[in-house]
């Protein structure tokens, strides 16, 4: 049997009366990149902390490589937090050497990867953000982890640098590591093999992007008077998103949109929803369900 790098079985975590994570099941298989999406407060960070063994579940079970989280399992995990977890006043080489020593690795693990060599003697705090991220990735990967956990891995870097960071992630997955990534950006979600969407502490959708989006549709309004159309839709309680000069209205049928526009001249059609629009819909309905007494 293949051992799962990470598994949550019916995991619940409460803080007082507040249930941050509510009966969540999650599996990360070897060689797989799983994206964890959710609005702030959806429970992503709590779930990650549970998986890393930094928090204990109130109910349910966490398994890492088939065992409960421990120091032994931590040794097999590479983690890049949002704040990167580097020492700003050490160079990338010193950061890497320190981390290799902590993980009990030999000097081979502390050798700088090629793109970082020319920055080897500059302290991390003075490096551009893209290079800092590369260094944080190198540090998380140096002990060849079997599970890689990345929190918002490419925030603030340009598209080419982002593609390069994703090559590193894909390389680790190809070598057999399971990867769990949290992100707020749909560009990044596209890099994952599978997504898990959380809202109000629960998993509300899981699968590939086409599976999650399904046949969800939005209404699209094209009008020379888009500003006026936006105002009319707003007044009718249909918040619209501006894209170029068209308005996209999630969760409203073209007929209802047409009526809300009154006598404003516009073409109203229907189009497949994007992942972000579907995400929005899922989150709002989960929050509405939770808000009910």
């Amino acid at each position: 049997m293949t051992e799962l790098p990470a598994q949550a079985v019916g995991v619940t975590r409460a803080f007082g009366h507040f249930v941050a994570v509510d009966q969540v099941d999650l599996e990360v298989h070897p060689g797989e990149v799983v994206g964890l999406l959710g609005a702030n407060g959806a429970g992503k960070t709590t779930l990650i902390r549970l998986l890393l063994g930094l928090l204990r579940p109130t109910a349910g079970e966490i398994w890492l490589f088939g065992e409960p989280p421990s120091r032994g399992t931590r040794r097999r995990i590479g983690y890049v937090p949002q704040g990167l977890g580097l020492y700003d006043d050490l160079t990338p080489a010193e950061n890497l050497a320190f981390s290799a020593a902590v993980f009990g690795e030999g000097p081979a693990a502390a050798s700088l990867p090629e793109p970082l060599r020319r920055y080897g003697s500059t302290v991390v705090g003075s490096l551009p953000l893209g290079i800092q991220r590369t260094a944080a990735f190198a540090q998380a990967l140096a002990h060849r982890p079997d599970l890689l956990v990345l929190d918002e891995p490419t925030s603030g870097v340009d598209p080419l640098a982002r593609a390069r960071l994703w090559e590193t992630v894909a390389g680790a997955a190809a070598a057999g590591a399971g990867v769990l990534v949290t992100t707020h950006y749909m560009d990044e979600a596209g890099e994952c093999d599978r997504l898990v969407i959380m809202a109000a502490g629960r998993v509300v959708a899981r699968g590939t992007i086409p599976e999650i989006v399904g046949d969800a549709q939005v209404s699209v309004v094209e009008s020379a008077a888009w500003a006026e159309a936006f105002g009319a839709l707003e007044a009718a309680g249909m918040p619209a998103a501006l894209v170029g000069r068209t308005l996209r209205v999630p969760g409203a049928a073209p007929g209802a949109v047409r009526r809300a526009l009154g006598d404003i001249s516009a073409t109203v059609t229907s189009a497949p929803a994007t992942l972000e629009e579907r995400f929005f819909e899922l989150t709002l309905s989960a929050d509405a369900t939770q808000a009910q007494p």
Partner: protein
């Protein structure tokens, strides 16, 4: 040189603006136009020059050379990177202070802020200190504070960075509201899926323009073709390849797709911008190679 001027014009922006900090050229001859009633996006990674350009537009920084066309300070709204709110003031106090500073009549300010707060779910937390808001809420407050006086030019530096998709939708509602009211809106972002929503996009890299125009124009201006393969191509072609959505995109500058590939794809904005960055990177490393 900067020319504040009264009244609305057909555009605000920069003409051939350069900014030098000591030996660093932060902006290198940048031309940028933001039109009233439109959203324009300035895209780039860390160090690309986005913040420097936005500070020039907002009047917070004078360029070393070139001209900035902007409205007067009272007709400009600016959200600096990292949220321009006072952490020790409540939501209501932050907005009241901004409205007073911009000389908005109290009754107008009350109506306008009440509407914007309700629209974005902040109406339930008006008494809370800004420093105790979540990141998304703080950014929403920052944007509302920047637009409370209905500015002609609204400059927002990374309003959505680190913000979850639900708060981001609220932020876009505010951005759209401002454009619908006739403001020229300029946003900085490092994400192209977001920039794609803007009418006009300027991509910066190391202080200079990498691409500009509508998303369609930037895509149309891309040289060569793109092919998709399931593995990274070997040899020289590997340097023209990058990973996207689980596969490899390979850029062929001379249009002719190389043999044995998985077919050409129609590029989108993200592809076109990545190609522009790649072309610059290859040209730079080529020049370094020759000079050795």
């Amino acid at each position: 040189m900067t020319t504040p001027s009264a009244g609305r014009r057909d555009w605000w922006g920069t003409d051939d603006v350069s900014v030098r900090f000591g030996s660093t050229l932060a902006l290198d001859h940048v031309w940028f136009r933001a039109e009233p009633g439109q959203v324009s996006a300035v895209v780039g990674g860390d160090g690309a020059g986005r913040t420097t350009l936005l500070r020039c537009l907002a009047g917070a920084l004078a360029p070393t050379s070139g001209q900035v066309r902007r409205p007067g300070p009272l007709a400009t709204g600016y959200l600096s990177a990292g949220s321009g709110t006072y952490p020790d003031l409540s939501v209501a106090e932050n907005l009241a202070f901004r409205a007073a500073a911009y000389r908005v009549p109290p009754e107008t300010a009350r109506q306008r802020t009440a509407e914007l707060l309700a629209r974005t779910g902040l109406d339930k937390v008006t008494g809370r200190l800004a420093g105790q808001l979540s990141g998304g809420m703080r950014q929403k407050l920052g944007v509302i504070a920047a637009m409370v006086h209905s500015p002609d030019l609204l400059v927002l530096d990374e309003p959505t960075t680190g913000v979850d998709p639900v708060s981001r939708a609220d932020l876009w509602l505010l951005i759209t509201r401002a454009a619908a009211d006739g403001a020229a809106v300029v946003i900085a972002t490092s994400y192209l899926d977001e920039a794609e929503r803007a009418r006009h996009v300027l991509v910066l890299d190391a202080g200079s323009e990498l691409a500009s125009g509508t998303a369609d124009q930037i895509v149309a201006a891309m040289q060569g073709t793109l092919t998709v393969t399931s593995t990274r191509p070997a040899g020289e072609a590997g340097r023209r390849a990058w990973r996207r959505e689980g596969r490899w995109r390979v850029w062929n500058p001379d249009s002719a797709p190389s043999a044995g590939d998985g077919g050409t794809v129609r590029p989108d904005l993200q592809d076109a911008v990545t190609v522009a960055a790649l072309a610059r990177e290859l040209a730079r490393s080529g020049a370094e190679g020759e000079s050795r």
